[in-house]
Each structure stands twice: as structure tokens, then as C-alpha cells.
């Protein structure tokens, strides 16, 4: 059952990601991206990362995706429903990306990975919280500064002149 669910989630993720990339309409891409992100959140669940799945849903879908949709709407006249978009260097890009994918998969497949199976933890939030406040305090604080900087920078950039 869970095996099936896993493959379903994986398929959802990959297919919707393909839509994101190949769709001619930008707004479709955005919607497809929603499913991709949901799919990734599902994969996190399979990877015992319940907290990460929550964060994925909240930040990506609630924050970044909304931001993207806003961006689309701000930069296109919303009345013209068809917000078309075209691609460049499709063939060479596709070839390169495909080649890269082949290389990656053959590399991953041929590598002998270190695997250590541990029991599933009850919950991860507590450990992550402790780690953030102890071992990863400095990156944590730096990330907060970065966010602040990005916030101010973004506001600054998109501010209308005068």
C-alpha cells in the first residue's frame, strides 16, 4: 500500500514538474508547480521528515508560490487570460539536460551508497529545534539576517521611483 502510494506521489511530482517546464501558459505552470511542491512534501513524509513536509507546504506553497503567482499577475495584464510564454534553445537545452540526467542516473545507479537503517523517530521537531538553537545557531542567525536583507532589498527594488 505504502509502496504504491510512494510511486503515486513520485509520479505526481515528476509529471507536474514536467508540466511546469513544458506548459505554454504561465499560469498553468504555476498551478503545476503547486502539485510538484505538494509531491515533494509527500516524499518528505516517506522520508520520515514530517516537520520538513510541513515547512515545505507552508513556506513553498503558502509563501513562494503565492509570491510567484503575484509576480505573474503584476507583470501581465490579467484580462488577457492567455499569458503565453515561449521557450528558447529547446533542442540543445533538452539534449544537454537529458544528457546530464543520463549521467546523473547512471552515476547514482552505479554508486554503492552507504545505507544505515535506523528506527523511525517519534518526532523530529524537537531535535531540529534543539539543533537550531545549539549547533546551528550561527547559520540560523545568519539566515535571519539574510531574510531581513532580502526583505529590505526586495522592497527597495520594487519600489516605484520617486
Amino acid at each position: 500500500m505504502s509502496e504504491f502510494a510512494f510511486w503515486m506521489v513520485a509520479a505526481l511530482t515528476i509529471i507536474s514538474a514536467g508540466l511546469v517546464v513544458f506548459s505554454g501558459q504561465l499560469i498553468y505552470s504555476a498551478v503545476a508547480l503547486l502539485f510538484t511542491l505538494l509531491g515533494v512534501a509527500g516524499l518528505y513524509v516517506f522520508l520520515w521528515a514530517d516537520f520538513m513536509a510541513g515547512v515545505q507546504v507552508m513556506v513553498y506553497i503558502g509563501g513562494i508560490l503565492v509570491l510567484i503567482v503575484f509576480g505573474i499577475m503584476l507583470t501581465h495584464k490579467i484580462v488577457s487570460v492567455k499569458i503565453s510564454q515561449t521557450n528558447v534553445q529547446r533542442r540543445i537545452g533538452g539534449f544537454a539536460a537529458g544528457l546530464f540526467l543520463v549521467i546523473l542516473i547512471s552515476a547514482m545507479g552505479s554508486a554503492s551508497w552507504f545505507m544505515e537503517v535506523t528506527p523511525e523517530p517519534v518526532e523530529t521537531v524537537r531535535t531540529i529545534g534543539i539543533l537550531l538553537m545549539t549547533k546551528y545557531l550561527l547559520p540560523f542567525e545568519a539566515a535571519s539576517l539574510l531574510l531581513l536583507g532580502a526583505l529590505i532589498g526586495a522592497a527597495m527594488l520594487s519600489r516605484k521611483e520617486n
Partner: protein
């Protein structure tokens, strides 16, 4: 009295300089253009000179001598003292200069009335008087030389007074340059003497000569060099060419400088340096003097310009004086200098008076063609200008050596000295021949002049009516100097017109030469005394001959001058053309010199500079062109630029992939990554 002498001499020296300075700076703005400044200065000078002269009489001391020197320049060992020497010769000379100069100042009042550069003229007269007095007072060779040159300059300025006339400007230049030739000799003489003696003062030099520090050939050479200065200034052969040309100056100037005083400076110098002249040098002096006397007289015979006659006569008379110094009777030379100054100045004033009157007459007729100085345009002026005539005649008698006149006394002394010299040195028989020959000619040409000017019929009757006697300012000096040509003023307190014996011979006594081995003054005097009577008889007869010949030719016209001229043919032409001296100098000296100068300048500028010096430049630029070519085409274009070009080419081709599209870049990155991985894997 010593201080008084120095004060007076200083005043005599510097008063004319003061007048010069005032005239040159403010003269034009003063009333009457300031002529009164100059005249009062010169009259004061005359008074002071007379006071000195009177004092000389009171002392009546032939050995009177005062010297004063001051340190002018001091370099440790090299010192120059400048100073005065006041003795009887100086005092007499000062008086002569002051007297003639005063006369000239007064004479010029009318002669130069209305001249454009009236105040300048007086200024230069002041400068001249200053420098002449400087020569007279000098007790050393340096001051002598300094004033010597200054006299030359004032002469230059005064000859060139009417510089608008090309001939005047040329004459001025010629006078200065010819004098400079002599001055170079003078200077070399000074250097020789200073090198040997280490002092410039006459006293020291004479002492060294006496002690033998300097002697022999060196001394002879030094003496001749010094005498070269005198040759220039006194216009002796072969440097005589400037004096006749100098007549381009105003006539009073000719009287003052080119007859009475400046040209006599040469004689004065020779008299001063007499004690150091060796017998060889003296012989040289004598021959130069004698030859000049004869040679100039020969030219004077045929001249038609009244001033030219007088000019050559001056040269000839100066030759006499030099001859006298050369034969040892240097007091006679000085005596002749004195008498000559009076009568020759007078003759020039007389000629000036005549020219002045001719000039006015011509001016009235608006005739600018006729030469007012040509005697062929004159004649019969005796009635019109009696004072001029009379005073000129007196002076002519004096110069011709007629008894009862001053010239007789001095000339006789010279001729006597010459004759006695030849008696004791028979190999030098030419000297008295020169002397007596010149005396004959002098009598002839002087009377020729008088007859042509004052006697006979007027050659230009249309002018004759307008000829008048000159104003008082001009006749005054004539009368004064004419009177001074009478013997009595020179023989006092004696009255013997045939003997030079008088105050002059008492006060100016010949001293022994300092050159060891030269004949003593006493012996010379003795010899001259013996030759006195024969010389007198001889000179009287030659003078008489000359006068009678002139009378026959130009007064009675019983002998045709033209016929004689034709008969003598080339000789006449030679004399008329002054023996072609100017032409030959022109041809063999000036022109080659100018040509040489032109060639050298051409060579310097067009050849040496252009080809040699610029050749360096050209060679260098050729070299640099070659190396530049190699550098540019080889190293620079080939090597250095090659790299650049290659880089540029590469850049240009690489630019293609620099599309500015982010996604292309990403593609390249990816391709690169794949490439690396593949390489890594393989």
C-alpha cells in the same frame, strides 16, 4: 702750490666733462640750447690754465714737476694707479688746448648758428676738451690710452656731426678705425712694457729703462708699438688717410682737433715717451715723420679744396714734429707743436670764414651744386674779407717759415736738428732732404692757396657780390690767433727774431734719454746749435723759392700751372689723387677683408652649420630612421603588435559566444560540467 696745481688740473679736466653732461642731457631745453654753459665752462678752464701758466712764469723752473696718483684697481699683485703729471710741458699744452678750444667755442657760435644739433655739437666739444686734457695730464700709459680712445670717439662724433651726408659718416668711421689700427699698436706696446716693468707709470717705466730691466730689441719694439698709436692719431704715413677725410666735420672742429690739438696728441705722446725710445726706434720715428712731411706736402701741392690743402699741410707739419722727435730735438718738436697749433688753427678758422661766406652767398643764389670749399670758385676775396685775409696771411707766413713769425723759429729748430743729425750720421742724409723738400713745398702750396683765394679776379663773379666779412664772433679768434703767430710771444723776454732763445727754451729743456747708450741731450743741443746758421740760410732760401714760384704761377700767372701739370704728367696725377692711397687700401685691404668676412660668415652659416653641425643631426636622424624602421616593422609590428592582434582576433571570435543571454551561459556551464565529468569518467 702743489695742491692748487692739482685742484686746478682737476677742474680743468672735469669742467668740460660737466659741460658735456649738462649739454647731452638738458642742453636742448636750455635757453640758446645751452651754448653759454659750454662757453662758460671752457672760459673758466682757460682762466685756470692761464693761472697755471702765469705761475709757471713766476717759478721759472725748468724741472718743475708735480705728480699725484691714486689706486684705481687692486688685485693684490696687479694694481693700476691713475694719476696726474703736471710739468711745464703739461701746462703749456693745457693752455693751448684751452685757448684753441675757447676760440672754437666762440667761433662756432656763428658758424653753426641754427644747426639742427647745436647743443649736441657743444656737448661733443666738451667731451673732446675733457679727453684731450686727460691725455695731457696723464702720468701713465693706462690713463693715456683711456683718454686717447675717448679723443678718438669725440673725433668720430664731431666728424660725423653732419651724418646725413654719406661722406661725413664714412669719414667718421674711417677716422675711428684708422686710429684704432694705431691704437692696437699702442696697446701692444703697453702690454710689452707692463710685462717687463710691471707698472704703467712713466716714472717707473723710465726707471726700469735706465736700470736695464727692459732694453734691447724688446724696448725698440715696444717703442715702435707705442709710436704706432701716435702714427694713428697724428696721421702719419701710412695711417694718414683719415685726416683729409675728417675735413667733412664742421670747420671749427677741424681747427680744434684736426689741426691744433688732437692730432698733436701723437706728437705729445712721442715727446712723453722720448726717454724710452731706443736709437733704432728713434730712427724709425724719424723716417716715418720725414717721409710723411714730404709726402703730404707733395699731395697738398695740387689740391683744390681749401680744407684739403690745409689738411695735407697739417699732416706734413705733424710729420715735421715727428721727424724732430726722431732726430732727438724733441723740445723743438714740442715747440713746433705749440706754434703750429696757433697758426694752423688760425688758418682753419680763416678757411672756415671763407667757406661760411661762400656758403651764404651760394645759399642766397639757391645754388647747391657749386662746392663752397673749392678754391677754383674763389678769388679776389682780399677786399671783401680784409680781416680774414690779413690773419690768414700772417699765419701763412708763419707756416712757410718766414722770419718774424712763430713758424720760422720752430721750423728752424727742427731743420737745424735734422741737419746736424745728418751731419753726424751721413747715411741718413735723406732726413734733411725730406725736411727741406717739405719746407719748399709748404711755402709753395700755402701761397698758392692765398693767391687763389684772395688775389686775382673772382672765378664766380655772380657770387662775388654776396661775399662778406664774417661776424665778430668769427673774426675775433682770427685776430687773436693771428697775433699769436708773431715771434715775439715765443722769444720773450728776448727780442731776437732769428733765435729761438726765450722763455720756451728756458722752461722746456731737453732731458737725457733713459735708454743707456743714447746720445745725451746736451750733445744733441750742441750739434743742433752748430747746424743752426746753415739750416737757417737753407730754409730761408727754400721758403723763398717756394713763395716766388707760387707767386709766379698763381699771382703773376707768368708760368702756367696747367702747362706744368701737363709736363709733370703722371706725377701730377699721383699728387692730385693722393697717390691712390685710398683706392689701394680699398682694393687691397677693405675689399679683401669684407670678402673674407663674407666668405667666413657664409662658411660658418651655410656650410659649417648647415652641413657639418646639421650633418650630425641628419646622421642621427638617418640612424634613428633605420632603427625606427626595424623597431616598428620588426619588433613592434611583428612581435609586440602580433600578440595584440592575435588577442584581438581571438577576442573578436570569442565575442560571438558572449551573447548576453543568461541562458546561453548556463548552457555553456552545463556543457562544461558535462565535459568535465566525461573526461573525468574516461
Amino acid at each position: 702750490m702743489e695742491n692748487t696745481h692739482i685742484t686746478y688740473s682737476l677742474a680743468i679736466l672735469f669742467l668740460p666733462l660737466l659741460a658735456f653732461l649738462i649739454q647731452i642731457f638738458v642742453g636742448k631745453r636750455l635757453p640758446r640750447q645751452g651754448d653759454w654753459v659750454s662757453i662758460s665752462a671752457i672760459v673758466t678752464t682757460l682762466v685756470l690754465a692761464s693761472l697755471l701758466f702765469v705761475d709757471m712764469f713766476q717759478q721759472y723752473n725748468p724741472n718743475f714737476k708735480i705728480e699725484a696718483s691714486f689706486l684705481w684697481m687692486d688685485l693684490g699683485d696687479f694694481k693700476i694707479y691713475l694719476g696726474f703729471l703736471v710739468d711745464n710741458i703739461t701746462i703749456i699744452m693745457l693752455l693751448v688746448v684751452a685757448l684753441i678750444s675757447t676760440c672754437t667755442h666762440i667761433f662756432s657760435l656763428k658758424y653753426l648758428e641754427g644747426d639742427v644739433r647745436y647743443s649736441r655739437y657743444y656737448a661733443y666739444l666738451g667731451l673732446f676738451t675733457f679727453s684731450m686734457n686727460g691725455i695731457v695730464l696723464a702720468n701713465n700709459l693706462v690713463s693715456m690710452y683711456i683718454f686717447w680712445e675717448l679723443v678718438g670717439v669725440s673725433s668720430y662724433l664731431l666728424i660725423g656731426h653732419w651724418f646725413e651726408k654719406e661722406s661725413a659718416a664714412n669719414a667718421a668711421k674711417k677716422a675711428f678705425l684708422t686710429n684704432r689700427v694705431g691704437d692696437i699698436g699702442f696697446f701692444i706696446g703697453i702690454m710689452i712694457i707692463f710685462t717687463a716693468v710691471g707698472s704703467f707709470a712713466f716714472t717707473d717705466i723710465f726707471a726700469s729703462v735706465a736700470s736695464g730691466t727692459i732694453g734691447g730689441t724688446t724696448l725698440t719694439f715696444a717703442g715702435i708699438c707705442l709710436f704706432a698709436g701716435a702714427m694713428g692719431k697724428s696721421s702719419q704715413f701710412p695711417l694718414h688717410i683719415w685726416l683729409p677725410d675728417a675735413m667733412e666735420g664742421p670747420t671749427p672742429v677741424s681747427a680744434l682737433m684736426h689741426a691744433a690739438t688732437m692730432v698733436a696728441a701723437g706728437v705729445y705722446l712721442t715727446v712723453r715717451i722720448f726717454p724710452l725710445l731706443t736709437s733704432d726706434a728713434l730712427l724709425f720715428v724719424a723716417y716715418i715723420g720725414g717721409f710723411t712731411a714730404l709726402f703730404a706736402a707733395a699731395i697738398a701741392l695740387t689740391q683744390n679744396d681749401i680744407k684739403k690743402v690745409l689738411a695735407y699741410s697739417t699732416v706734413s707739419q705733424l710729420g715735421y714734429m715727428i721727424l724732430a722727435v726722431g732726430t732727438g730735438v724733441y723740445t723743438a718738436a714740442f715747440f713746433h707743436l705749440l706754434t703750429h697749433a696757433m697758426f694752423k688753427a688760425n688758418l682753419f678758422y680763416g678757411s672756415g670764414s671763407v667757406i661760411h661766406s661762400m656758403h651764404h652767398a651760394l645759399h642766397k643764389k639757391h645754388d647747391h651744386e657749386t662746392d663752397p670749399q673749392d678754391m677754383r670758385n674763389m678769388g679776389g676775396f682780399k677786399e671783401k674779407m680784409p680781416i680774414t685775409f690779413l690773419s690768414m696771411t700772417v699765419s701763412t707766413l708763419a707756416i712757410a717759415g718766414v722770419p718774424f713769425f712763430s713758424g720760422f723759429l720752430s721750423k728752424d729748430a727742427i731743420l737745424g736738428g735734422t741737419l746736424s743729425f745728418a751731419q753726424h750720421h751721413p747715411q741718413h742724409f735723406l732726413l734733411p732732404v725730406f725736411g727741406f723738400g717739405a719746407a719748399t713745398m709748404t711755402a709753395f702750396y700755402m701761397f698758392r692757396m692765398i693767391f687763389m683765394t684772395f688775389y686775382g679776379k673772382s672765378q664766380k663773379p655772380e657770387l662775388y657780390a654776396d661775399i662778406h666779412e664774417s661776424p665778430k664772433e668769427m673774426t675775433g679768434p682770427l685776430v687773436l690767433l693771428g697775433t699769436l703767430s708773431i715771434f715775439i710771444f715765443y722769444t720773450l723776454p728776448h727780442f731776437n727774431p732769428f733765435s729761438t732763445h726765450g722763455w720756451f727754451t728756458d722752461l722746456v729743456v731737453a732731458k737725457d734719454s733713459f735708454v743707456p747708450g743714447n746720445i745725451s741731450a746736451h750733445t744733441i743741443a750742441e750739434h743742433a746749435h752748430h747746424a743752426h746758421i746753415p739750416a737757417m740760410i737753407l730754409s730761408l732760401s727754400v721758403a723763398g723759392f717756394g713763395i716766388i714760384l707760387a707767386g709766379l704761377m698763381y699771382l703773376k700767372k707768368s708760368i702756367s700751372a696747367d702747362a706744368w701739370a701737363k709736363k709733370s704728367g703722371p706725377l701730377y696725377k699721383l699728387s692730385l689723387n693722393k697717390f691712390y692711397f685710398d683706392e689701394n687700401y680699398e682694393r687691397f685691404l677693405y675689399q679683401p677683408l669684407m670678402k673674407l668676412a663674407g666668405k667666413i660668415a657664409y662658411f660658418d652659416w651655410e656650410v659649417y652649420d648647415k652641413y657639418f653641425i646639421n650633418g650630425f643631426g641628419r646622421f642621427t636622424s638617418w640612424l634613428s630612421a633605420i632603427s625606427g624602421k626595424f623597431d616598428y616593422e620588426g619588433i613592434d609590428q611583428g612581435l609586440v603588435d602580433g600578440v595584440g592582434h592575435a588577442t584581438q582576433k581571438m577576442g573578436r571570435s570569442l565575442k560571438q559566444i558572449q551573447t548576453g543571454r543568461l541562458q546561453n551561459y548556463l548552457l555553456f556551464v552545463l556543457a562544461g560540467a558535462i565535459l568535465i565529468i566525461i573526461i573525468q569518467a574516461v
